[in-house]
Symmetry: C2
Subunit: 452 residues, 2 copies
């Protein structure tokens, strides 16, 4: 049979309601993961774990969050660790692929050109497109994970005296965890011991940033390095990413410079490296090389803002997404300047896109505020640590001041719901909203970054 | 000379740039107030107060905030108290009148009918309108303040054994402080001692709500009691006010019911009264009959949300205003339902109005977040009390967990700026934005509540 791309819409496969498919797929993965983690073989020592712990970690892994209530390395067996690694890979791949497909579908329906596939004349997403996207995401994933695994493995082997097999395993585990923005680490203090080692921190940071840019951006960067030729989505994502990295690095470094429990303990070069690393991780990887429990409350607040904004669309990052945030800034800027239309670079932003960004941002604020109030009520813990934890769960970051394990079970279940809603809510909400937009008469070239 | 209303635009009087006039007027009032409070005669005991204390309390009074760093009754002399009372009256009257005039100007320019004055054929605001508005605001203010002063004065005289003159003074002071949503009280624990006395709490609550509805709504309610005939602005303001009062009462009462330091110490009827009172005061009067320093952090967070939303436009309340908040909800609702146009009741909300509401809300969030980070950095105090304090200052509420006096001077100056920006920012920003809107061809009847 010749492999001609079929042009059927994905209705038969369930993509007639893409959001439902995504939610069902992720819920299924969480359930399977919970069942696997409940097996006694997943745990070290005697007997299996309890239901809430299994559910929490399966959700945290599938949603590539990285919040944990137990120490990954000592609590889970090698089998358990591999289950978690598998869930991370499924969750990260699933997010990237589904969000890319949904973005493609939205672009097609709205008549916007896209670089993910060449053809733009159709309004539906065919099986050929699905194949292209899945293969592309897979190739990208394997490429980044392999390179980072090799670098990390060599470093662990050569500089930290790990046995070759163990070093390779550590390299693979943390490369998968970083590219998928999962933030699970096999040391109880995350990457704190490597705070001043650029050979560990930089590959992980690059991998995290790449995964967080999102598949459409990675694809376009590979084909076209001249910014002037980039699509609106890529321009906005890259601009916002660079700006947030610079601002975040300056903010964290300046704030913690003299804190003896964090940057103050390091030499100046180490402070810069660790400041940069802690600016990368809120978006939204969740590794840490400094102790968030010892940070200034101001740093925690600023980090919460970074976490809430998150990373790029159709990648492994969470949050409301940098394009959503930047688009709202463009709207405000247009309003303050008194312009009737909102322009971003050379494109006009439609009112509907602006409304969708607004809807995602405000519903996300509402979710965070409601969950913070609920967890404070349940746990009676202090607002600043709860707010940080809640934003971390919602934006699927995984950073914590260390309270996760001490939260009462109902509060942990709130976090489970938040991780799930935070992982899928913005993506599915925006695609659901955008797919209902009717096509309109062609006026000016309209632009529309992926949102959510 | 006959007093024919002139139809000249207010350009010669400075209203060509209304925002500048408002800002200059308020800054002038703050400076005069600071100078008066610096006089030795304003203080009890020997010598005058310091510059920061005088500036802080003049700003707090003119912006009708009510945050204090000293105990009003014992620190200031009778002269000082009267200065503060005068500043409150100037600030409250100024806010109500200026915001009403700006709202009138915006409505005229946008070709919307308004009930503040009968004529709608002109696009400018003439001296006759100014006179109408100023007289209307003055009459409304005197009416509410007089009635409440009499009720409170009688109560203090008959039930609390105050001398008649003293009781009258207390009545006048707290009626002015409540209608203008200022929240200054002459007891160091605010109104805590009257927590279960409906004869004190209810008149103050009614006065606060009335002042917070805003002049255009009060005017319309006086002329027309049938909701079906109300303007969009009045409908939205009344709906949001009632909803927030009910939700706030339930929230505070449920949350604090068993807190032995707050509601738990009262009998059930007293708990309901105090729960209601603490739901009225965040919007944005700032009296309290319970100790906010002893409240659950969840209650503080929920109260912060209420404070941020604030009260009605063109009144004495602060915050982003209930119409701004409700309009954003309508936008989200329309988006979630997939409707192209946003409708509120029977009116279509323009995209520009939605964008203006969004701009006010997000810039306000940014101001609160930035100030919270700054004050946490400066003071090293805990996030939850700082956030509460910052929102209280920005929304000109005046509630506090009790940290105001303990804040370092730079942090107090941040609050001074916040009070000023929070008082004038939303009003002037929206009017500046809206006045630049060009008039458009008449399509459907368009609606536009006052925003900010
Ligand atoms: K993560
Ligand atoms: K107030």
């Amino acid at each position: 049979m010749p492999r001609t791309p079929t042009r059927r819409s994905l209705g038969p496969l369930g993509l007639r309601s893409p959001a439902q498919l995504v939610v069902a797929g992720f819920a299924g993965a969480v359930l399977v993961g919970t069942a696997l983690l409940l097996l006694p073989v997943s745990r070290t020592g005697e007997g299996g774990t309890d239901l809430v712990t299994a559910l929490f970690h399966a959700t945290s892994a599938v949603c590539v969050t990285g919040l944990v209530t137990v120490d990954t390395a000592s609590y889970w067996s090698a089998f358990g660790e591999v289950v978690i690694l598998g869930l991370i890979q499924v969750g990260g791949f699933g997010t990237m692929a589904f969000a890319s497909l949904l973005g493609l579908l939205v672009s097609r329906r709205l008549g916007l050109r896209t670089r993910v596939t060449a053809a733009a004349e159709t309004k539906s997403v065919g099986l050929g497109d699905v194949r292209t996207v899945l293969l592309g995401v897979a190739r990208t994933t394997v490429l980044f994970e392999a390179v980072v695994a090799v670098v990390l493995g060599l470093r662990f082997w050569l500089a930290y005296d790990e046995a070759p097999g163990r070093a390779a395993y550590l390299g693979v585990f943390h490369s998968i965890s970083s590219f998928n923005n999962a933030g699970f680490a096999l040391w109880s203090d995350s990457l704190t011991r490597f705070a001043t080692d650029p050979w560990v921190c930089l590959p992980i940071a690059v991998s995290v940033i790449a995964g967080g840019l999102g598949f459409p951006v990675l694809l376009e960067l590979r084909r076209q390095l001249r910014p002037r030729r980039w699509s609106l989505h890529t321009r906005m994502t890259v601009l916002a990413t660079v700006a947030l990295l610079v601002l975040g690095t300056v903010f964290v470094t300046a704030n913690e410079w003299r804190n003896p429990q964090t940057l103050g303990a390091l030499d100046p070069a180490g402070r810069l490296l660790a400041g940069f690393f802690q600016a990368v991780m809120p978006r939204t990887a969740g590794f840490n090389s400094l102790d968030y429990g010892a940070m200034n409350e101001g740093t925690l607040l600023g980090t919460s803002v970074l976490m809430f904004i998150g990373g790029g669309s159709a990648g492994t990052a969470g949050g409301i997404k940098v394009t959503t945030f930047l688009l709202l800034l463009f709207v405000i800027w247009a309003e303050v300047r008194g312009e009737r239309d909102v322009h971003a670079f050379d494109r006009r932003i439609t009112d509907r896109a602006a409304r969708q960004a607004l809807t995602v941002a405000l519903l996300s604020v509402a979710a965070v505020v409601a969950a913070t109030v609920a967890v404070v009520e349940i746990s009676r813990m202090s607002t600043h640590v709860v707010l940080f934890e809640v934003v971390s769960a919602f934006a699927t970051v995984g950073l914590s001041t260390g309270i996760t394990a001490d939260l009462p079970t109902p509060a942990q279940l709130v976090l489970v719901v938040l991780m799930f809603v935070g992982r899928l809510g913005p993506i599915t909400l925006v695609s659901a909203l955008a797919l209902r937009e009717r096509q309109r008469l062609h006026q000016n070239p309209e632009g529309r970054p992926l949102i959510g």
